[in-house]
Subunit: 578 residues, 2 copies
């Protein structure tokens, strides 16, 4: 084609060469490509009829260019490389105009300048984004990973981090520093026993730094800082999801049940030991037969007025406490939910502190504990099943903020209705529904970081004979990943909003906040599941390898109507693989 | 309410009792519930004004029924239990009419009969399905798993199985029998080394039964039966997905590359040993730098005419063969894809048989192999990375159906164009794109079976004070699971169609069949991923426990543009948990 005398007489024809090259590079001309280019050529009044027919002959699908011809176009473009290297963002039209200038030894005509918008429109319609055209200019071998070029940020990352972290920047930095310590290095999670011990050790490190008691009153060694408690959960999630859940079970579910369902006598006796992880404990609510439907639990706590004790009992095997974090290995005490029976009358669900192991980890009489075994993820958390066989505990062990028995053996409560008392109790625990989606969002953020970095460096396919293109440049890839990135930002601010509303709540707002928390927990963790699946796929086979981390990130539990400790599980801090 | 004299004078009012009971059972009356019931009551011409106002007073959200009143409604309904027990499908209206008959000691009036459609409409609008109303009649304790009642099939399961299995029923039954043998019991997949040996052993069992050579020509110990080969992959997937992939790598990717890319000399020398798993082998196509873009691979195979050998070489680390199944532990030979260089000229991608280990499993000189390590799933498959350092192999090891070197050292091929030769070679391997989605669909089927059975038995929540309802009765649950079940059926027949088209293909149809296979592989495996996530969620925390199997089923690799052995991974045959 280029040898045709028409190119000599009108070098402006060179403007079409990159377009022909691009459409023929996949060796297939689609009907819409033909139509687009045909109408472009037809509408160029600066072309002679002869030129027009000559150009149209080049988009005849029945007469593709010969390999030699195609190669000659490529060479023509490659000859420009010195001029193109500087501006990597040349579009096909830019390249075409450079060809015109080079061959015309002068600038393009006014007529051609007027044609530029039409040419650009065709280029856009053809779906060739400008960055890709840079990959036309290449020689043979460009194995992906040898070029470590990645796209530079077009904004100040630190400024964005300030907006995301807000006034929590200090605690975020501190917790990141701690978990970046070599003692928090990823271990072999295949070995469940060692993994559980490691996770316990990590939580003890955190407790030693005061992060366990963070939300407890200052009188009991805490900082009275619930906002930081949520932030800690969020940051820990970048490192290991089993650690987050163990942390949440001990200091959140167990500790806060003592704090919020108990009264001063319980706080004095237990909170400091809980915050220091000297008293590892459980939150024994769920039963085998009753997960979401907590009101249906069947464990009984019968008051014995003569002895001032309660007898806690599992009436049948479906009433055993199930899926209880910290139960299979480490817990020494359990906040146990049971039907409170006083003088033969059932007063609905109440919570009592039941010792389950001694200081040496030996299971106490009347208690039997079974290990839940291997799970999809979170194998650093020791979930177990607890059965109580007529276990007698002192009356003081009833967490008596909302339900109590007076000295005369009468049931008393500030809330008369069993039903309202039940929902008030559960309402105090809504914080768990905030920590979990924030933890899941951290997993999404980490997965997206891995997948986007990978996509920016991993190259695959490209124009015939030219270098390969980073997979992130493919629109399908962008359309799969970028909306999820946008969702992650949106969820970040949504969960910040929820956190702030919860922290500044009034009694009146509680119902709305609970609904918001339940909804956002579901929505956010579903989003995490979807995001991590896409991230896995976006990393191809590499996403399937455990040492690239998406593996364990993917083990996300979808929200359930009630607090469950069976949530995410993840591994490390930054991706090893590039 | 029931003590009101109006009930005595007009017992037909009883028809409203179950509806009041149902709407108040969650203690919340929504605006639309109020509106629906109000307009129902307003439109009943058989009511007196006094009766109408009396009824309307019962849907005042500011004046909910007292607990005693609510309990009296429940008792009224429970008293019917003997009449209701027989017909479990009573609707609220049915129950209401029975109350009317009982209290009127006679049948309902014509006016009331005319009102039935309006009553039913309200019932439907309220979203209470008829089966659930059966759960109104109950006493206190109905822990889920103690009642082993599950829904009976309303069709002949064997007839449906006949339609699904078709003429493959025989081989399906045989393979199911083999893999139900105790020697195929699930082992501890945490121990990767043992798991890999176990999977190899299973494949040897299958080979010994003739299932390895199934698709090979009869002359080489095979049965010339590609259809059964696909069926075997499908059935093995019910048991263990690592086994399927190991089977597919050895007998499919490796064996069929020898069969389809090689010629008679290769068939004679290798096929029988491959089918018996005496020669474990690999399919070494993917490189670190080039996964999907096979045309870009950089391993070279340079012909040495003086010695009649090829030198196979990995020019740099991104050109190593990556993610190769059977490479890390067991493979002794690899079908190796490389750029064929003859007399200094590059003839594009060809395949050669390169020995990588001796009979004792010792890696041969010039070969280095690295283990890919732990993956999200499929840990019973030994994926590895192979690097060739100037490895010399005899000329005969070139799989020479499409590319050869003649005695004078000239390159020859029945297909002149390098490009067309490349796509013809890959085209012969399209079968892999049929086996993988069929394997993934088996994982979906197993997950759905587990989730639906669980949903039919697991009960949670229910009307106030009454028995809990199987979660499968909840419409949200049905709407999550049943469309996926329908998709699984549709995909079953779609993949059967694809299989048949492939088996009966003509040369002309190949392009369409390849497109269909690529599309269905993506669509079906995405569907598997989605299905198993829903199944996991539908089983709640139980779905997260490894011993309930969904765990490993979920490890599904999405289709990639080319054959990849990194697909599903699953465990066992039938769910342990109920």
């Amino acid at each position: 084609m280029l040898s045709n005398p028409l190119f000599k007489s009108n070098p402006q024809l060179y403007v079409f060469v990159p377009i022909f090259y691009a459409v023929w590079s996949d060796a297939v001309l689609t009907p819409s490509e033909i139509q687009e280019i045909r109408s472009l050529i037809d509408s160029q009044s600066w072309l002679t009829n002869e030129e027009r027919n000559f150009l149209l002959a080049n988009i005849n699908p029945a007469a593709p260019p010969t390999p030699q011809e195609f190669k000659s176009w490529q060479e023509e473009i490659n000859n420009l490389s010195s001029e193109l290297a500087a501006g990597k963002k040349d579009s096909l039209v830019d390249i075409g105009l450079k060809l015109v200038r080079k061959n015309a030894i002068g600038s393009e005509s006014d007529a051609l300048i007027k044609a530029i918008p039409a040419l650009q429109k065709v280029e856009n319609t053809l779906g060739i984004i400008s960055r890709e055209s840079a990959y036309f200019i290449s020689s043979a071998n460009h194995p992906t990973e040898t070029e470590k070029l990645t796209t530079q940020s077009s904004f100040d990352v630190n400024e964005l981090a300030k907006i995301l972290d807000g006034d929590q920047a200090g605690i975020i930095r501190k917790v990141k520093t701690i978990i970046s310590d070599p003692s928090f290095e990823f271990t072999d999670v295949d070995n469940r026993k060692d993994y559980r011990e490691k996770v316990l050790e990590w939580c003890k490190h955190l407790a030693a730094q005061g992060y366990g008691a963070m939300a407890y009153p200052k009188a009991y060694g805490g900082s009275d800082d619930m906002e930081s408690y949520f932030t800690i959960m969020e940051v820990l999630s970048y490192r290991d999801l089993s650690m987050v859940i163990k942390y949440g079970v001990q200091f959140g579910l167990f500790g806060m049940s003592v704090q919020l369902l108990g009264t001063e006598k319980h706080h004095k006796k237990y909170l400091e030991a809980i915050g220091k992880l000297e008293l590892p404990g459980c939150f024994a609510m769920t039963e085998t037969g009753h997960g979401s439907n907590v009101k249906g639990i069947e464990t009984t706590a019968i008051y014995n007025h003569n002895k001032k004790t309660f007898t806690v009992h599992t009436p049948h095997k479906y009433a055993r406490k199930d899926y209880i974090g910290n139960a299979a290995a480490h817990g020494q005490m359990a906040t146990t939910f049971a039907k409170l029976i006083v003088d033969g009358k059932d007063y609905g669900v109440a919570a009592l502190l039941v010792p389950i192991r001694d200081k040496n980890g030996k299971t106490l009489p009347g208690i039997s504990i079974e290990d839940c075994g291997r799970k999809m993820g979170l194998n650093g958390v020791d979930n177990g099943r607890i059965t109580f066989n007529q276990v007698e505990i002192p009356k003081e062990n009833l967490l008596n903020r909302f339900a109590d028995v007076d000295d005369s053996g009468q049931f008393t409560s500030p809330i008369a209705s069993d039903n309202r008392r039940f929902f008030t109790m559960l309402g105090t625990l809504v914080g768990g529904r905030i920590g979990i989606p924030r933890s899941g969002l951290s997993a999404s953020k980490k997965g997206l970081t891995i997948a986007i970095r990978y996509g920016d460096r991993r190259k695959q396919f490209g124009p015939e004979g030219a270098a390969e293109v980073p997979i992130l440049n493919y629109r399908t890839h962008q359309r799969r990943i970028i909306p999820l990135l946008a969702s992650a930002y949106a969820l970040h601010f949504a969960l910040q909003h929820l956190t702030q509303r919860f922290l500044k709540r009034t009694e009146d707002e509680m119902q709305e906040i609970e609904a918001l928390a339940a909804g956002l927990k579901s929505f956010a963790t579903w989003s995490t599941t979807k995001t991590l699946q896409e991230c896995r796929e976006a990393c191809g086979g590499n996403g399937f390898l455990s040492n690239n981390y998406i593996d364990d990130l993917k083990m996300i539990q979808i929200s359930t109507p009630l607090l469950k400790e069976i949530t995410p599980c993840l591994c490390n801090w930054w991706p090893k693989a590039g």
